[in-house]
Symmetry: C2
């Protein structure tokens, strides 16, 4: 164990108590009622960076602030930009949590809380890793930490910020410190993530609830209309039936798919993490292919009429559904939103008004898994975990991955610490406690490997 | 104006202030949290009957109490049983009300509140009419008022109560004092009402919400499955597509349909009351036929996944829909529930668990519109309103109508005071204030006509 690793081990209780503090700030960016807490979290992050020996600054946006921390190693050192986010998803449904969502709670080997896996562990780890290097053998790269508070609402202000500060944020490599490992004890580096097109469909009939006896059979029911629209989104085999949806999809090279076939994807574990439900999806593709290189369409929520306890004989006046598509290269999210709009228009039954509102549009991301960053980070992870990391894609969406690749450097890797089934965006979100220490050790090695590569 | 009508006019302010008191008791029978208020309302009704000079009694049930008030005119007088209910629907959505739902509020000619039309005006009117007769020329019929507190939850305990007290409740005629007039200034007597089969469908995928990026495309989405099931309930033309649904439907005689064609059904007014939405329904039938003599199927509510403000990228773990069918002779609600169950089983996609729970089952009601009760009540209404009442059917469900016809007397009429578009079961429920006085005057005449017919 070298000096830095020893320092990391000794600092661990302090790091975990910081983690606990950050978790306790309910920085829910999707709900305006929590704007104050998001701000509190940004201040916490700035202060923590300061304490770690970084030069830290809060940048205001029209939404939630961006916190930037820096270390300058010198003009000959490579520059690494690390991205993370300090905002979180809502905690509802609250009654499904085994412990209070904003209290970091130990459950066996794991730490449980909203944001534990997505993405506050990374916020804490990335600052503490820099601190450990600075306080021991030194930090041999120019480091720029960019931590935003709007990841869960589409990173609206981050990309303009990066575009505006292209020079100050110029970097040779960028690591997205978010997402998850491929499997327990099997670290991974992610070179592709799906994009997102998110819309809300509203169907209006009478506009207000009617007595189902006095009106039933003679007026349109917007829930029926919405169900017909939703049912039209897929064919009976499970392919998306939105006209033109697959037209610009670029299939992955055969060797990539073959590599995955040999990788030992644990379908049973994935199924267990999904509550044991049967695995269904697009015909002709394996589960990892369905998740990583194939697009999909899901209703995220639907509501109409009376949904309380017991029964109520109303004929709903309106109904709505939130619908999102995960996209792969080369689908364009704005084009897909238009395809959805046209499809809904074509399949809307008579007698109701239908509106489609575009909520979010993020292009997919794909970088080169054989470049120097993937090699350096691969060695670092192999050293800490004792096993070669796998190079995979991921089904989720990180708008910033694609934006960093476009604006700063094509050398972008996503390095996750959470594990599959971490309940991100769901109750009882968790991360193994051991990942905090391992994450710090891995980052310290990434600094060294990148510095060594440059010289 | 005779003595009794004069008394009615003078008593009106007192009657309306009683109405206000009863409205202020939120006797929501569908929500267990309001059980105390339902009881308070039963006590209010009992006390009011006492004050009116009737012999009143609260009968306990395993649910909400039944209040019975009596007047004995003598063995030669005919016996009239009048049914009403003092329970109400929930008031939600609360923010759609223009005035507090449990405060009787005057809006121009109308009185607005939850229960104003359905059915507290009748509770007040029926007691006050008996009182007016008693305090002036006398009440010439044996009168039995039976007011229940469970109409909005399927009248669970009323039928057993009537069956158990068949002798004490023996009557020559029964009036259901609920429902509405055909049109403003056009009183009506209802000889048929639709039945009801109400179920809840639950579709379970993973059982808990998942991250839509990490799972989307590879696991079943219960909202998609539920939408497919709901969409299968109707064919594209608007007929119910549940296998066997129409098999036992008895069509109405041609002369009845022809009478309705000549009646001047105001389709435009109906459409306005439905918020202006286009009128759609089963092909080959007019709007009143679709409502009165044809069965239908409606989703009353649907919910699944995230339904709060903004967006959340979840893949829902479960979804559910409340579904009810309005039934006509000779459909059996239990048989229809089984048809629904079989249909759902046949149309459920792979990968999800589907459960259908039966909530409520009421057979349709139909009596003889040419019998002595319809003649007596017809003359009474014609005298008060100055126009012949119409004999119609109704799309709603009153389980007690069918049960009284089976257990006590086939001579059952439904006499409504509310007007079309009264927002029963919806926000801003209303009744014209003038209907309180007119209702009392009409009932006094019904007593006299029935007594005259007997002698």
């Amino acid at each position: 164990m070298d000096t830095t690793d020893r320092h990391i081990r000794d600092a661990l209780p302090t790091v975990l108590s910081g983690f606990e503090e950050l978790i306790a700030i309910p920085s829910i960016s999707t709900d305006p009622a929590y704007a104050g807490s998001v701000r509190d979290a940004s201040v916490w992050v700035r202060n923590r960076m300061d304490g770690a020996g970084l030069t830290a600054e809060i940048h205001e946006t029209e939404g939630h602030p961006i916190v930037v921390g820096r270390h300058v190693a010198g003009p000959d050192a490579p520059t690494l930009l690390v991205y993370a986010h300090y905002d979180v998803q809502p905690a509802d449904p609250l009654d499904a949590w085994r412990s209070p969502p904003f209290t970091l709670t130990r459950e066996g080997e794991n730490l449980v809380a909203r944001g534990a896996a997505d993405d506050k562990a990374q916020v804490v780890v990335q600052i503490a890793a820099a601190e450990a290097a600075l306080r021991t053998t030194g930090l041999p790269v120019n480091l720029i930490l960019v931590f935003e508070g709007e990841e869960e609402v589409g990173s609206t202000h981050l990309t303009p910020f990066v575009a505006e500060h292209r020079d100050a944020l110029a970097a040779d490599h960028a690591i997205i410190a978010d997402s998850m490992m491929f499997a327990p004890d099997r670290p991974s580096l992610i070179f592709g993530m799906r994009g997102l097109a998110y819309v809300e469909i509203e169907v209006v009939g009478s506009g207000h609830d009617l007595h189902s006896g006095q009106y039933g059979g003679a007026v349109p029911n917007p829930v029926h209309a919405l169900a017909r629209i939703v049912a039209s989104f897929h064919d009976p085999q499970g392919r998306v039936a939105v006209e033109g949806f697959y037209d610009s999809v670029r299939d992955a090279p055969r060797e990539v798919r073959e590599g995955w076939a040999a990788m030992g994807y644990d379908e049973a574990a994935f199924q267990r993490s999904a509550g044991g439900a049967a695995l269904v999806g697009e015909p002709g593709y394996t589960t990892p292919e369905r998740l990583w290189i194939r697009p999909c369409l899901d209703v995220n929520g639907i509501v109409g009429g009376y949904t309380g306890p017991g029964k109520k004989t109303v004929l709903p006046g309106r109904a709505s559904a939130k619908v999102s598509c995960r996209l792969v290269p080369d689908q364009d999210p704005h084009e897909v939103t238009e395809l959805l709009r046209n499809h809904v228009r074509r399949h809307a039954p008579a007698g109701v008004d239908v509106r489609v509102e575009g909520y979010q549009a993020n292009p997919p991301f794909r970088s080169d898994p054989t470049g120097p960053l993937f090699q350096a980070a691969g060695r670092a992870l192999a050293d800490v975990y004792g096993v070669e990391p796998v190079r995979v894609a991921h089904g989720g969406t990180l708008p910033i991955a694609r934006d960093l690749a476009e604006l700063l450097t094509p050398s972008v890797a996503v390095l996750g610490l959470a594990l599959p089934g971490a309940n991100m965006h769901a109750p009882n979100e968790w991360i193994p406690a051991s990942q905090v220490e391992r994450g710090m050790r891995a980052m310290v090695r990434v600094y060294r490997e990148l510095a060594a590569e440059k010289t």
